[in-house]
């Protein structure tokens, strides 16, 4: 039996706006996704903002009911039997929220240990072990409001692990962290993977998914657009070449003309400092450079780099073409 089984999961959010003329609005956050996560696996859900990653996690952690489809977590239905699921899972949400700021880290952990039914005789030892694991030993008596974002996030992970859950759900755990803080959190997650924990991780950072996940599903607009190992996803664009062209203020019409060039698979733009970088995926190697530069004639062009595709390129290709 897989740790997580999801079959045709759908979720529609309904809201009403207006005071006198009430209008109904519907947003389809999930449009029938299906996947399985095996025990001991670190599975990644990768997608842009609003893709449906958090909605998926919320349904699996019993916080949201699906509109259609089914899910099983360790054999239990999170919609109908939330109690059985809650005892066996831990979840960690990214960001600043989810902790009692005016209390110390120790008080936060003690309270959640009681809520998650950690036996009294094990409570103190378990808290000490987790503080050690997340590198907060010695700082546990300080109020959480004095903590940095990275420290809060590591405290979140400790909280999620208090009752030694069989599955850990991590929803964008490194969001908003500085590079050092994010690396520390990734190291903690890597350690948990080595301990054999089943982990479902959502992120929109490619390198994070590449570094941590054994399998990845790319989600966009509530649908899965690809699923596989990081190597398999990279292989989808491996025969391609990425041409990076540094430009300054290129019009949309020119970008459209670049897309129309024979041999161009996709064109995306990225802002780096003052420049706008055009990322062109080519099906025919670097031969396209001259054709691209001809179309850009009259525009201010800086550096031109040709390189091998990365997982990020595969992701951009998947998200933009689906």
């Amino acid at each position: 039996m897989a740790a997580i089984e999801v079959d045709g999961l759908c979720r529609t959010y309904r809201s009403r706006t207006g005071i006198f003329r009430r209008r109904r609005a519907e947003v389809q956050a999930l449009r029938g996704i299906s996947f399985q996560v095996e025990r001991g696996e670190l599975f990644g859900l990768l997608g842009p903002n609003g893709a449906g990653k958090t909605t998926t996690i919320k349904i699996l952690t019993t916080l949201l009911l699906p509109s259609a489809g089914s899910a099983r977590v360790l054999g239990h239905d999170p919609a109908r039997d939330p109690g059985s699921v809650r005892r066996r899972i831990g979840h960690v949400f990214g960001g600043d929220r989810g902790l009692y700021d005016r209390l110390s880290a120790l008080d936060n952990l003690k309270y959640f240990a009681d809520l998650y039914r950690v036996p009294v005789r094990d409570k103190r030892q378990r808290i000490d072990e987790l503080l050690e694991l997340v590198g907060l030993k010695g700082r546990e008596r300080e109020r959480v409001e004095t903590y940095s974002r990275g420290m809060r996030q590591r405290l979140h992970i400790a909280r999620g692990l208090l009752h030694d859950p069989e599955i850990l759900f991590l929803d964008e755990p490194t969001i908003g962290l500085d590079p050092v803080g994010a690396r520390e959190v990734r190291e903690t997650i890597g350690g948990l993977r080595q301990q054999g924990k089943t982990i479902l991780l959502t992120t929109h950072y490619m390198y994070e998914a590449d570094e941590l996940c054994q399998r990845i599903a790319v989600i966009n607009g509530g649908r899965f657009v690809a699923e596989g190992t990081p190597a398999e996803l990279k292989a989808r664009v491996l025969e391609r070449t990425v041409i990076e062209i540094e430009t300054f203020g290129v019009e949309d019409a020119i970008v459209e003309r670049l897309r129309a060039i024979d041999g161009v698979a996709s064109v995306s733009t990225e802002t780096r400092d003052q420049a706008e970088v055009l990322l062109v995926q080519s099906r025919v190697g670097a031969e396209l450079v001259q054709a691209l530069l001809r179309e850009l004639d009259g525009s201010r062009v800086g550096k031109v780099i040709t390189r091998e595709p990365t997982l990020e390129d595969a992701y951009v290709e998947l998200v933009q073409t689906q």
Binding site: K58, L65, R86, F93, Y100, D101, R102, F112, D114, L115
Partner: protein
């Protein structure tokens, strides 16, 4: 479940004690309510009536602190992002929410005693209690009744984002329907019938009879009985509203 309940109460009291605004309110409000009772009624020549007014003002404050305290606490949970974590905890949701209302009830009990104490100290309201034993039982019974009515109302606070505003608006109907603000005899008969279903009505009468009257125990008994009924109703409401919140996806909204 007991551990989660006690731990929840402790956390709520500690959080409350670390908010200077809440703390100053708890110090100031009893003085204000004692003053209202003294000056509004203007019955300096009738000490028994003055004491009855002080008791009414004290229970009014107690209810306010419970309903505002618990609604504010739940709105804070939403803002802190901990409401989802509390819902997702494996203990029954009532065991997570009840400590908040009961802890607010104990703050309210302190406020009740403080209002009476300030009344005695500042305005010489005679604190002559006819049945001290019954009074000692009536106060916690009233705390329980008010706390558990807070639990029933807290179930709606889970569903709505503006819990604090809702809490404030719930103060006055209970003041009126339980006869705390004006005597029930001057109100339409149906208001009295509404009051029978409210814990503070019986809780207040228990305290008043213990202080001034002759037969406090039936009121105290009703106060406890209605509290037990509230626990059952509150648990059902919380279960229902939790499911509604999971269905609408409103737990995270701030």
């Amino acid at each position: 479940m007991t551990r989660a309940f006690l731990s929840g109460m402790w956390i709520h009291v500690v959080m409350f004690s670390r908010n200077p605004f809440d703390l100053s309110g708890v110090v100031l409000w009893p003085i204000i309510y004692a003053s209202i009772a003294y000056y509004l009624l203007d019955s300096k020549d009738n000490p028994r009536l003055l004491l009855a007014a002080s008791l009414g003002a004290a229970v009014m404050l107690m209810w306010s602190l419970v309903v505002i305290g618990s609604s504010n606490a739940l709105e804070n949970q939403r803002w802190l992002g901990t409401l989802e974590l509390l819902v997702a905890a494996p203990v029954p949701f009532a065991a997570v929410i009840a400590p908040i209302t009961v802890a607010s009830g104990f703050v309210g009990a302190y406020a009740l005693l403080a209002t009476l104490a300030w009344g005695t100290l500042l305005f010489h309201v005679p604190l002559a209690i006819d049945h001290p034993l019954a009074f000692a039982v009536a106060v916690p019974a009233c705390v329980l009744a008010i706390g558990m009515l807070g639990l029933v109302m807290a179930s709606t606070f889970v569903l709505y984002r503006a819990a604090f505003s809702l809490g404030i608006s719930l103060q006055y109907p209970v003041w009126i329907a339980t006869g705390l603000l004006v005597p029930l005899s001057v109100l339409p008969p149906f208001v009295r019938k509404i009051g029978w279903f409210l814990g503070p009505y019986w809780g207040f009468r228990g305290i008043r009879e213990a202080t001034l009257g002759s037969a406090p125990w039936p009121y105290i008994g009703m106060s406890v009985a209605i509290s037990i009924a509230y626990v059952a109703i509150g648990s059902i409401c919380l279960h229902y509203f939790e499911r509604v919140a999971r269905s609408t996806g409103s737990l995270k909204l701030t």
